[in-house]
């Protein structure tokens, strides 16, 4: 699988992961489970950094200059 496709897949999966993490965090907050809130926030921060890294990787792969055609070839 091309790197660009992998980055795209990771970005799509990360949306689902973050939705679930946010839901669990809110549930823990409403239940006054502070330790669980901190744990989930740490996990979400880690996955957010990974998402940001994937975004940068995708950006570089997407906008990489196409190889130039050599003279004389079509």
């Amino acid at each position: 699988m091309a790197k660009k496709h992998l980055y795209t897949l990771v970005l799509l999966v990360s949306v689902a992961v973050h939705v679930v993490l946010l839901q669990w965090t809110i549930e823990a907050y409403l239940g006054h489970e502070w330790t669980r809130v901190y744990t989930l926030t740490l996990i979400a921060a880690g996955t957010t950094l990974a998402t940001a890294a994937c975004t940068i990787g995708w950006y570089r792969a997407e906008y990489r200059a196409a190889p130039r055609h050599q003279e004389g070839s079509r």
Partner: protein
């Protein structure tokens, strides 16, 4: 011929080439494309991930509760099968003290864990009922038994001292 050339360069026209591409909106193709979708997805994912941080900040700022005993009601004033409303630990936290038919004293915060509607004590069936969306809680444990609530009612620990019932602590998650 000159007319035909002018028609071809216009958005609206009867020229065959214009009709062939009349369903193509170039402006949308520039703005709404695969790259824009992926960028929007990435932005949304990062925003969702960062949205958990305010909850941790709010939790860390100061959610400690005051555990001093708070007087609720004299036991003589609460016959069996009746309930009394009070506020614990804060004035914004309504609670219900129940004197069951068997003589037990139970207390819970009475804000329904679904959408914060007031919960009432149903003495005939000895259960706690939220009339808003027909949520039911078990009287002994405070856990939801039917309806939309998913979390138990916070339990308030009570003590009787010299014939007076006091609230002495709270457990938000229990059982």
């Amino acid at each position: 011929m000159g007319n035909k050339k002018n028609v071809r360069n216009q958005r609206e026209g009867k020229d065959e080439l214009v009709q062939l591409v009349s369903n193509v909106n170039r402006a949308d193709d520039v703005d709404l494309n695969r790259r824009a979708f992926i960028k929007a997805t990435a932005g949304m994912s990062i925003a969702l991930g960062l949205a958990t941080i305010p909850f941790s900040i709010r939790a860390a700022i100061g959610m400690e509760e005051d555990d001093d005993a708070k007087e609720i009601i004299a036991l003589d004033e609460l016959p069996r099968g009746k309930s009394a409303t009070f506020y614990y630990p804060e004035e914004s936290d309504p609670a219900l003290l129940i004197h069951t038919k068997s003589g037990e004293l139970l207390a819970y915060n009475s804000a329904c864990t679904h959408l914060m509607c007031p919960v009432f004590y149903e003495s005939e069936k000895e259960e706690l009922v939220c009339p808003c969306h027909k949520g039911y809680f078990d009287l002994k444990s405070g856990h939801p038994t039917a309806g939309p609530p998913q979390r138990e009612l916070p339990r308030i620990d009570v003590e009787v001292r010299n014939g007076v019932v006091y609230a002495v602590g709270r457990q938000v998650r229990h059982g």
